[in-house]
Subunit: 349 residues, 2 copies
Amino acid sequence: MSASLGAPQGVPTLTDVARVAGVSLATADRVVNRRAGVRPATIARVEAAVAALGFERHAGAADLARRVRHRVTAVLPSGGNPFMRRLGEELSRAARLLGARRLDLTLAAAETLRPTRLAEAIEAAAGLSDAVVAVGLDDPLVAAAIDAAAARGVPVITLVSDVPGSRRSRYVGIDNRAAGRVAGSLVGRFLGPEPAEVAVLLGSRALRDHRDRLDGFAAVLGERFPHLRLAGVWEGEDDPVRARAAVAELLAAHPRIAAVYSAGAGNVGLARALEDAGSQACVVAHELTAETRPLIERGAVDALIAQDAGHEARSALRLALAQLSGTRIDESQERIRIEILLRDNLPEA
Amino acid sequence: MSASLGAPQGVPTLTDVARVAGVSLATADRVVNRRAGVRPATIARVEAAVAALGFERHAGAADLARRVRHRVTAVLPSGGNPFMRRLGEELSRAARLLGARRLDLTLAAAETLRPTRLAEAIEAAAGLSDAVVAVGLDDPLVAAAIDAAAARGVPVITLVSDVPGSRRSRYVGIDNRAAGRVAGSLVGRFLGPEPAEVAVLLGSRALRDHRDRLDGFAAVLGERFPHLRLAGVWEGEDDPVRARAAVAELLAAHPRIAAVYSAGAGNVGLARALEDAGSQACVVAHELTAETRPLIERGAVDALIAQDAGHEARSALRLALAQLSGTRIDESQERIRIEILLRDNLPEA
DNA sequence: CTGTTAGCGCATTCAT
DNA sequence: ATGAATGCGCTAACAG
């Protein structure tokens, strides 16, 4: 048995469509690209031809003919924890591969944690670009900046951290509440049925994604592992030094902590504090970076919840390009997975 | 701060290269595409120009100019468990999206478990195609067929299941030993520190990937969870009915089994047998399919180890195309991940 | 409103 | 061994 795909003799072209519809190439192009100025009757004829032939436009050829270069700028946090730096690199790589000829990527750094600054950065980016990709922040000022850009016709794609109330055209990133749930399940399963105390280390409660993760984590504990008590939530500001201090304090107050869910960054500090205190607590943290890899390899971290920076970067740029040139995309390819990494399934590099 | 990428004024074209090198477009093309018949001195000049300008060829334009269509056929198991069927669908989708104009995909079914049949199918496919993608089998006959195809200039890409000794040009799939290790870690962590008995359910020992998974699983238990004893290894032939029977027998002999690692298919049967016996055993299985999704959702399966069929399909086809047209690829994009799925991070669809 | 025409960057004959 | 010319499928002026 064997099934064949694709037209055997060659895929229909716009010229074919034009011929079948009895119009010129230009007119066919107009209706296919939904450009104005065609009589309804003509539109109908062309659309019939498109349907009859199963025409789909050749993206490569369209690309070639359309000489415009799209300028997109990506706004990333200036401080830059390892994951964010990685994201920047991957955006550059993706730009080179995906749209060498159509895409001018500009990387812009901004204090994405301060609403005013982020909003300014987005506005500035929208001024110079056809589309902007930005690591978001859940704040009205930021939402306003995004809405303003959108109103001007500059689509904004949020990356890694969404801006819920805004008119961003897409969000590329994981569902952070679900990520928190995954962390909760892992901790619940790893600890077993005995009552125990667990703690959460956040970067900051001001960060929407961290709050979402905490919510998801707490929800699972409540639903499925009621014998686990959330003894405390600390903030380490995504910084190793402060994280270490926060955790030290935490352990002093609750020496029996059996597990820590680290929803932010600064995990080296967390690990050190645990070692200092001689704690055997189970640790679940986020993102695979140069910082966390050694930790999971030597067992200081038990599991990592990760998102693939390369995939996110490609996806964001693909979506921006699709948006700008009216191409269709394969939704299933753009779904960002919540990955669970144990030391046994760490990717090579 | 902001960094810009890509030449501001327009990316260099082959024509630019030719001009700078002082040769014609055709000659530039010859060296860029490593075609024969160019004097070494000329090659050097063109390559210098390429380097100086940072030329990279425009894939879209190349696509357009090259009118050849590549025929690739994919050889999949005829029986077809849900995962394999999914793989077929994803190959079709990928073919449509990736190479609508350059790629004729033919899906061929074969009894991939019988070396003779698989070898025949691969030979037949190689006869009609420019490249073949096949779900492999670790057998000398199959390896021979692959080597013969390769010798004829038809590259063979193994998918999901590799053929180690052969000259396949690439293997697209997960590291099954690592997958087994992941399963072992999960079971080890889920069960906790008390001594317990665990069992493994295989499709068949004849399948290389199942054996690899078993090896990895056993290795982790030995290294990190010595208090867990592997009470038995059963074969369910990837079939729900036989799996159920095998597991029933297993439970009769070892009623205290605390966990089962199912390295093959037929998981509905496994779940039913466990329910019949009133066993609360922890279950780790493979692949997210219409069959396993309900199981993990209702808790009959605790974790799933999965590979993304869509990603694998796209990767295999991308590699085939790259091979056939001498394009370069982004290795990091082709790495197939071992995914760990809990009910909290199941993809939507 | 609709048609004609000239390329986009590259691979490919066909000459030389 | 090298060059000139043609066209892939499509978009974008520019004419009517």
